[in-house]
Symmetry: C2
Subunit: 143 residues, 2 copies
DNA sequence: TTTCTTGCAAAGAGTTTGCATTCCA
DNA sequence: TGGAATGCAAACTCTTTGCAAGAAA
């Protein structure tokens, strides 16, 4: 029993058909260590199941989103990234100069989360956040 | 003397030519009450100066960004929004359900900025951040 | 004049859609 | 079998780019 089955079962329970395409898309998302783009999902899934079309990937992602099985994130890359809903998260600091990516703990944003909740009644999705700026080595913004 | 002149003067001082197109784009951004998309800038500017092409708008926006005169923001709409740099800073809370945008004070992120600086030596650009989540009225993610 | 800017049109990237065909339940 | 899902191709949105023509300084 692969853990992928749980998500598939949810879909099945809700009356959706379990096609090979959907399985492959789900597996690709599950197996990705972090977030993954639609194109990457397409590439990965196609390796295992070549009879797969991009539009099917997008339609499947739409379905998974609607059912709360994957989260869609916009990190300002000009495309969306996807990951299984509920997977453990961390955040990123992206250096505008050397493009280095620093992973930071999720609890750095706890205070912020609390402030937004108490101050604005806003339940923030602080998952997969990327902050841009300049790392220690590039402290002087070289414009 | 319209206040737009100050930005124009900055461009002029830096050796850029003051074309009607650039003036109209700047005016459109200045006159917009909040954030404005490239398409809206194009529409507005074109009303006053019909000899204007989309690519000129994009090229002008690129120029203004490089010179720190406008800020580009990604509110997850699938396009960028622009507003004059230096205008009262704030951040955004974007509701995933009703798409409402709540403006929040910049000092909400002061703590975070300090933590990133002391903990990671990272100088974060917390200029125009958008956080996604669910507002008070949509607190229950309606799947 | 001379170099910067623009317009045009085409090309991109990412995503969506209409419709006929396929295939899961 | 019948309706849901897919493949295909085309369209769509937003943005970028090459190149020749135009216009600031």
């Amino acid at each position: 029993m692969k853990k992928v089955n749980t998500l598939l079962d949810i879909l099945k329970d809700r009356g959706y058909r379990l096609t090979p395409q959907r399985m492959m898309v789900l597996e690709a998302i599950e197996e990705s260590s972090n977030h993954i783009s639609a194109e990457e999902i397409y590439d990965r899934a196609k390796l295992k199941y070549p009879y797969l079309n991009r539009s099917t990937v997008y339609r499947t992602l739409e379905l998974l989103k609607e059912n709360g099985l994957v989260t869609e994130t916009d990190l300002g890359e000009g495309r969306f990234l996807y990951h299984p809903a509920g997977k453990a998260q961390h955040h990123h600091l992206v250096c505008r100069n050397c493009t280095k990516v620093i992973d930071i703990d999720i609890d750095v944003l706890d205070k912020l989360r609390d402030d937004l909740r108490s101050g604005y009644g806003f339940e923030a999705e602080l998952e997969h956040i990327a902050f841009f700026g300049y790392c220690r080595d590039c402290a002087e913004p070289s414009v």
